[in-house]
Symmetry: C2
Subunit: 528 residues, 2 copies
């Protein structure tokens, strides 16, 4: 049978060039084409004339005095809110740059569409520059002038492939100067940085730098990360989280039904989210797996790896007694980072690997503290190897490369074997490992993310037009229909605290962690 | 923000019991509920009176004389075809058993619905027994009497969880006797075995056994496997293949867009399909990845692991010269089984592990042939470990547990490192590994699989009513609208050949391999 064109596949290669629109229809899958024409609603504030009103002065998330020193021009800025009323803006044409920074999140293209459409409608004659390949594109002046024909095919589509992304940071004085030169050369009125906590911190530093240099270029951030850890009162969620969780939840649901149908496997599913366990929690709430490990809970209870292993083994034994020898266990990518003893071990290993020769005879292990050595020896060989792997540029273990789910399977297997010998467990444990990651970062954005991103972009356009800088586009009241969403901007400095690095205070937007003070967790932690 | 109920998730735990229907609405996700009410069309032959006409006598796929000896009663049966006309059937109530055998494939529940609905409509007063947990359910007489209320919630839903599945086989004389006793006790007029090649072979043996014992119980098979390797002229595809490929293609499409957006990773994606590479080929046709490895091609060209590695490295170098340092590579699960030198190594290892003690000092390696030892030493440590792992019940390496994609990443990394030192490659290779497997076996069946399975079940009902046994339900003309599909049955013996095992001829349904005689493969093998 001839294979039919897939109505589901989020098709691969996307052509670029002049004839892009006409080539889309043949390259896109049915579902991509249908998403392309999905209409995007806007919050009703954009339907009529609106003005921007300021709230009270803001402070910082911590150490306001230090933040004030780091951002002398921007600190204390009020939040801005769009409300109906006669606008003071003249609708002058603007030159605006936009950049995608860091890992992909579904909806990024719609932020760009939102900015573009806002300017097309309100500031006719505007130009939008798409910086290519992330912040490096700003520094190198690598950009594309965005046109309706260029942008349209990416509407409601996944990925960041319209202008691509990158992880470079604008950090050194030379790099700030490069950005300044490009901003001046392009005569930029504004720049929108679509990124996570680091990128938004960077956006704020750039905003401060431009203001201090008396450049007209304003900088506005947009909250992007599938991890869901960039949020605050005014920014209820980061875009991409909704779509990614739905993709993972669908996969988890399938695996749960597989587990139940077969009746003999425990599926250990690792999910993205290194610093916080929001994805794991959200997927657990959507699918009700048998065990959900929340990193924040593991840390707050100061659990050891042995505790976690025992906990899983306990549930498996309880289920076995009820006749169920299968199940699904969700594990956040960053789990081992939340286990104090593992953190200690990794810190020691980082130190040793940075300064010592690792000999084949294992003499280097004598440098480990006794409890760290004991933990290291407890780990499966494959995990020991992974802990000794190449470091990231900061000399840290690349936690994403550690197969936590496989480690737990091996440790649980060992524990159940012991219990079997003690007559406490009489079944055969079979683990299956999964990592659901990259396939969730570039899926077709959900209706929510499509509309949310479009509104974030539209709002960013409004903030730039009104001359705001150093704010993050903030769309609220998200549980209501799109029409009732609120639109405004929040001072990036108000999300910041400082961290001490190399003897200096560095500003950081604090990652939002899973809150443990609800009744929620005891509910999701185990479903027998 | 409170997490909204997911409109996409294929929700997890499904309640069983009397109040199942009423509980579904609250347990099911929106999309599950919407699928539940998706109408199922039927081939038009079922709309009016029909009769069954026989074709010419059949033979076997190979060694017809041996097959004739193994199936003295059934060999040579003609194919059956449903055609419009006055039926000879009286519409008597029947007692029919149904069993799901082997790994899950989307649509299994609809086969059961089809059988049930056929009997409800045409043979009023019939009883359908669902044997629980696969063929073991037949042997142990573990079943549930299926009712409309029990079945309905599973309509168009993924998984085999309605009655669950299992991999046990009815093989020994005692086991055949157990099946006979249960068939007699339940007074079964027929049994439908929903399974892959092994299960359908088993179904035919059971049909032969029942006929020789003068039991009235007829046995009909249904073609199930996501691997797509159970097919022939009359059975154009096995159910589940369509859905699974669409699920994988969507994930691959997402990863391709991720690769393009980031511009720095090569994603190595392993896909299910141990014996044949149909899934990999179909996904390649749907998504156009950069490299597609087809096991059958690797085998026919007698490629070594080094050849495959070099081939991938060549493409990576070519793409690097064009400025592309990213891509996606599809790998069938069974790849290493197709590489002659690896097969040889595995055979030697199986032999050694069955009879020798594996010492820590590696003295056991001296038992390997020189070229096998060389290959073994070439392999990454993790793969060496996996090759030494526990065997399946037949003493074979569990190929599914070997991370072929990780092995290839390490080997390609090594090769590119060499080329770098020789000045032939100047970039940094970063591999990401994926295995898309279990999440595709229990997804919501596509419209095609939903209708196809319903028709397979309906057809199985018709074959049983007409007294047929030893046929596999065959629905054809699948490229046309459902109404125009043909319905009939094909002699299972006609799909069979024999294999010599333990000095005896065993019947086997030959797996359908990817055909290499088209122009297709040179097209999909590389997309620069």
């Amino acid at each position: 049978m001839a294979p039919p064109p897939s109505p589901l596949a989020n098709g691969g290669g996307i052509a670029t060039g002049n004839s892009i629109t006409s080539r889309m229809a043949s390259v896109y899958s049915e579902v991509q084409n249908s998403r392309l024409h999905h209409p995007l609603a806007l919050p009703c504030v954009f339907r009529n004339p609106f003005k921007i009103v300021d709230g009270p002065p803001s402070s910082a998330a911590g150490n306001p005095d230090e933040i004030a020193k780091l951002f002398p021009s921007l600190f204390g800025q009020p939040s801005a809110m769009l409300v109906p009323g006669e606008s003071n803006e003249s609708g002058t044409a603007l030159k605006i740059g936009v950049v995608l920074s860091g890992g992909q999140a579904p909806g990024g293209h719609n932020v760009i569409s939102g900015i573009f459409d806002y300017l097309q409608e309100r500031c006719k004659g505007s130009t939008v520059y798409g910086f290519r390949g992330g912040p490096a594109g700003i520094m190198k002046g690598k950009y594309v002038v965005l046109t309706p024909e260029y942008i349209y095919p990416y509407r409601n589509q996944g990925g960041f492939n319209m202008i691509c992304s990158g992880r470079d940071k604008i950090e050194t004085p030379e790099q700030f100067k490069q950005a300044e030169d490009v901003a001046m050369k392009l005569d930029l009125d504004g720049l929108v940085v679509i990124g996570g906590d680091d990128s938004n911190t960077n956006a704020c530093l750039l905003a401060e730098y431009f203001r201090n240099k008396n450049l007209k270029t304003r900088v506005i951030g947009c909250p992007k990360t599938i991890d869901g850890d960039l949020k605050c009162k005014e920014v209820p969620t980061s875009f991409g989280f909704d779509t990614a969780c739905k993709i993972y939840a669908e996969q988890i649901g399938n695996v749960m039904i597989d587990a139940r149908s077969t009746g003999k496997y425990y599926h250990f599913v690792r999910l993205m989210g290194r610093a916080a366990s929001h994805i794991t929690l959200e997927c657990a709430l959507q699918t009700h797996p048998n065990i959900t490990l929340i990193g924040e809970e593991v840390a707050s209870k100061k659990l050891t790896l042995k505790n976690v292993t025992d906990h899983i083994a306990d549930v498996i034994c309880k289920r076995a007694n009820l006749g169920y020898n299968y199940g699904v266990i969700l594990i956040p990518e960053g789990l081992i980072d939340f286990i104090p003893e593992v953190q200690q071990l990794i810190a020691e290993l980082n130190e040793i690997l940075a300064h010592e020769t690792v000999d084949d005879h294992g003499l280097w292990k004598q440098k480990l503290l006794p409890q760290s050595l004991q933990l290291f020896e407890l780990l499966p060989h494959a995990i020991q190897d992974q802990l000794m792997l190449e470091r990231d540029p900061h000399g840290n273990v690349q936690v994403a490369k550690i197969d936590t789910e496989k480690m737990l399977i091996q440790m649980v297997e060992g524990e159940l074997e012991k219990r079997k010998q003690m007559g406490q467990y009489a079944y055969q444990f079979k683990g299956q490992s999964h990592f659901f990651g990259y396939e969730g970062r570039c899926g077709l954005p959900s209706n929510f993310d499509s509309s949310y991103c479009y509104a974030l972009g539209y709002g960013a356009g409004a903030l730039l037009e009104s001359g705001k800088s150093g704010l993050i586009s903030s769309v609220g009241n998200l549980a209501a229909p799109v029409e009732e969403w609120t639109v405004g901007g929040t001072a990036l400095t108000s999300l910041m605290d400082v961290e001490r690095r190399h003897g200096k205070f560095k500003p950081v937007i604090k990652k939002a962690m899973v809150e443990l003070d609800g009744e929620l967790l005891s509910y999701v932690f185990i479903v027998i």
